[in-house]
C-alpha cells in the first residue's frame, strides 16, 4: 500500500486451545475410531472368502488390510509434518518476508514428527512381512524355489552390512537417522525461535538461515530416499527414477493445504490479524502451483511408462488402472488433485478468499491421501484392497490425533515470532 502507517498488532497473542475445540477434535477421533472398529469387524467376518489359500500362495488375513491402512497414514502424516519444517526452512533460505507471521504455524506441524517416527518404526516391526515383500528371507536363498534374482540384487540396499534376508539394518538405520535428524532440526528451529523471542536482534535470523540451509540439503536427500524406502520398496521389482519427487510433491501439496487450513482457521478465530488477503493469496498460489507440479510428475511418470510399454514397468499401472478396485480411484486422484485446484483456484479472487481455499485444501488433503493409498495398497493387498470403513476411520483417527498434537504445540508459545526482523515487511506485503 501507498501509506506505510504505524501498525499496532498484539504480538504476544497465544492460541487458546479451548475445551470446545478439543471436544470437536475428540468427537472426530471417536467417530473415526467407531468407523475403524466397524471396518475391522467387517474385515474379520467377511474376510475368508478369498481364493488365495490355494496352491501355496499366501492366504489373505484381515489384519494385512489394517497394517496397510496404518502404513498409508504413517507416510501421509509424516509427510505433512516434515513439510511444515521444510516450508519453514525454505522461508529462511529464500529470505522471505511475507510469511513472517505464519512461520510458527508451519513449524508447529513438525510436532507430529516424533510420534510419527515411533509409529512408523513400530508398524514396520509388527507388519514387515505383510507390507514388504522384500523382508522374506527365502527370496535371497539360491536353493529356495522362490529365490528372486532381481530382489537379491537389490538386497544390500535393505540388509547391508548383515546377510541378505536377515535383519534389515541399513533400512532401519535410514529410518532412524531420517527421523532423528528431522526431529533434531525441528527442535533446533524451535529453540532458535524461542531465543529470538527473548533476546531480539537479527543474529537469530542469520543463525536460522544457516541451519535451514543444512536442513534443506539433508531433506533433499532424505525425502527422496524415504520415498523409495517407505513407499516404492513395496513394489520391490518395480522402480521409477522420479518416485522421490513424486512423493515429495504429494507431501508438499498436502503440507501446504494443512498450513493454509490452519492459518484460515486461526484467522477465523480472530488470531493473526496482520495476515490479510495478500498473505492468503500467496499461500493459494503455492497450493495452486504445486498441485500442477504434482500433476506434472504424475503424468511424467505415467507417460514414459505408457509410451515405452516395457512389461516390467507397465505392471505398476496395469495393477492400478485395470483393477475394479483401484481403477476409478486413479481418476478420482487426478480429478481431486489436478482438475479441482486448477479450475477453482485459477482466478486471483479465488486465491484471496478463504471460502474457495478452504474447500480446495480440504479436498486436496483427501485427494493426496487417496494418492498414497493408491501407492501402498495394490502392492500390499492386491485385489483385497479398497477404501472402506477401516481406511476412512484410520484416516480420521490419525488426522484428528495429528491436529490435536499440532494445535497443542501451537498453544504453548506465542503465535507470532514477535522479534522476527522481517515482520514489518510482511505487514506491508501487497500483491
Amino acid at each position: 500500500m501507498a501509506h506505510h502507517g504505524e501498525h499496532h498488532y498484539n504480538l504476544d497473542q497465544r492460541f487458546d486451545f479451548t475445551a470446545s475445540i478439543k471436544k470437536s477434535i475428540l468427537t472426530v477421533l471417536v467417530f473415526g475410531a467407531i468407523l475403524l472398529g466397524i471396518g475391522v469387524v467387517l474385515a474379520i467376518t467377511g474376510g475368508n472368502h478369498e481364493e488365495g489359500a490355494e496352491a501355496g500362495t499366501h492366504a489373505f488375513h484381515w489384519y494385512e488390510r489394517l497394517y496397510a491402512s496404518i502404513w498409508v497414514n504413517n507416510v501421509f502424516f509424516t509427510g505433512i509434518a516434515i513439510i511444515g519444517v521444510f516450508f519453514f526452512a525454505i522461508q529462511f533460505a529464500a529470505q522471505a518476508g511475507w510469511s513472517a507471521p505464519i512461520l510458527r504455524v508451519m513449524l508447529s506441524l513438525g510436532s507430529w514428527l516424533p510420534i510419527a517416527g515411533v509409529l512408523m518404526l513400530a508398524t514396520f516391526f509388527v507388519a514387515n512381512h505383510d507390507l514388504f515383500h522384500w523382508t522374506h528371507s527365502y527370496l535371497f536363498d539360491k536353493n529356495d524355489p522362490q529365490y528372486d534374482k532381481i530382489i537379491d540384487g537389490k538386497g544390500a540396499f535393505f540388509f547391508w552390512p548383515m546377510d541378505k534376508g536377515t535383519f534389515p539394518v541399513f533400512y532401519i538405520a535410514r529410518m532412524v537417522i531420517f527421523f532423528g535428524f528431522w526431529v533434531f532440526f525441528f527442535n533446533k528451529f524451535k529453540q532458535i525461535s524461542a531465543q529470538e523471542d527473548q533476546l531480539g536482534g537479527s543474529s537469530h535470523w542469520y543463525k536460522m538461515r544457516s541451519w535451514s540451509a543444512f536442513f534443506l540439503i539433508f531433506f533433499a536427500v532424505s525425502s527422496s530416499i524415504s520415498a523409495w524406502d517407505w513407499v516404492m520398496s513395496i513394489d520391490t521389482h518395480w522402480f521409477s527414477t522420479l518416485f522421490g519427487w513424486y512423493v515429495f510433491a504429494s507431501w508438499f501439496v498436502s503440507g501446504l493445504s494443512a498450513i493454509t487450513l490452519i492459518v484460515l482457521f486461526l484467522k477465523g478465530k480472530g488470531y493473526l490479524e496482520m495476515v490479510n488477503e495478500n498473505h492468503v493469496h500467496d499461500l493459494g498460489k503455492f497450493v495452486f502451483g504445486f498441485s500442477i507440479f504434482w500433476t506434472y510428475l504424475w503424468f511424467s511418470q505415467f507417460l514414459l511408462i505408457y509410451y515405452a510399454n516395457i512389461p516390467e514397468e507397465t505392471v505398476y499401472f496395469v495393477e492400478r488402472l485395470e483393477s475394479d478396485i483401484y481403477g476409478p480411484f486413479v481418476f478420482v486422484n487426478l480429478g481431486l488433485n489436478f482438475f479441482l485446484p486448477f479450475l477453482v483456484l485459477m482466478t486471483r479472487d479465488a486465491k484471496r478468499h478463504g471460502v474457495f481455499l478452504k474447500l480446495v485444501c480440504t479436498f486436496l488433503l483427501v485427494g493426496h491421501w487417496i494418492d498414497f493409498t493408491l501407492m501402498v495398497q495394490p502392492g500390499t493387498l492386491g485385489h483385497n484392497g479398497g477404501i472402506g470403513f477401516m481406511e476412512l476411520g484410520m484416516f480420521l483417527v490419525y488426522g484428528s490425533s495429528a491436529i490435536f498434537v499440532v494445535l497443542g504445540a501451537l498453544a504453548k508459545r506465542n503465535l507470532i515470532a514477535k522479534n522476527h526482523p522481517l515482520l514489518e515487511e510482511s505487514y506491508n506485503h501487497h500483491i
Binding site: 501507498a2 505408457y306 510399454n309 485459477m346 486471483r348 501487497h430
Partner: protein
C-alpha cells in the same frame, strides 16, 4: 481517433509525494491523463484508480484456442489423415497428445497475451510515442493532465492544485 494535444504537467521529485499528490489531485476533481515514472512505483495504479487488467482473460482464451488447435491437429493427423500405430497404441492415443497440447496452450496464450498487450498499449512499431518530459526516463515523475478532459476547471486552478500537491514544477506541453 482524435488525440488531445494540450496538457499540463506536474513534475515530482519523490515517489511518496507523488502518491499523495495523485490522491489529492484526483480528490480535487482533476482527471489525470497518465503518470510517467522512471521505475515502477508501488501502489501507483491503486491510487490512480486503475481497474485490474483484463489481460488474463485474453490469456485464457488464447490458451483454450491453442489447446483446441493442438488436439484437433493431432487427432486429425494421427487418427484420420495418416493413421499410424506407434508403440502398439490406438490411433487416437490421448496420453501421447498431452505434451504437444500443453506446449501449444502455453505458446498461444503467451503469444496472444503479448499481442493483445502491444495492441491495447498502442505499442505498434510505427506508433509515434508522445514524450511529455524526457526527465521521466531519468529522475522525475511526470503527472500529465489533459486539458480537454478538464474543461470545467480553468488553467490557473489546475496549476494551483498541482503546486499545492507538491509538484516542483508545473509546465505546459502541447503536441502538433
Amino acid at each position: 481517433m482524435e488525440r488531445d494535444t494540450h496538457f499540463i504537467l506536474g513534475v515530482y521529485d519523490d515517489e511518496d509525494v507523488l502518491l499523495h499528490a495523485v490522491e489529492q489531485v484526483r480528490g480535487s476533481g482533476v482527471k489525470i491523463h497518465e503518470v510517467y515514472s522512471p521505475y515502477p512505483v508501488h501502489g501507483l495504479e491503486h491510487v490512480l484508480g486503475y481497474k485490474r487488467s483484463k489481460l488474463p482473460i485474453a490469456a485464457f482464451l488464447f490458451g483454450m484456442l491453442g489447446l483446441t488447435l493442438a488436439l484437433t491437429m493431432q487427432f486429425y493427423m494421427m487418427k484420420f489423415d495418416w493413421p499410424m500405430i506407434i508403440g502398439g497404441k490406438d490411433y487416437g492415443a490421448f496420453p501421447d497428445f498431452v505434451p504437444v497440447s500443453f506446449e501449444m496452450t502455453v505458446l498461444l496464450s503467451a503469444f496472444g497475451m503479448v499481442g493483445v498487450f502491444l495492441i491495447t498499449s498502442n505499442l505498434k512499431p510505427w506508433a509515434q510515442p508522445r514524450i511529455f518530459d524526457l526527465r521521466s526516463t531519468d529522475d522525475k515523475h511526470i503527472m500529465a493532465i489533459d486539458l480537454a478532459n478538464n474543461s470545467s476547471l480553468d488553467l490557473d486552478k489546475i496549476k494551483e492544485i498541482l503546486t499545492e500537491s507538491g509538484a516542483t514544477e508545473v509546465n505546459k506541453k502541447s503536441f502538433e
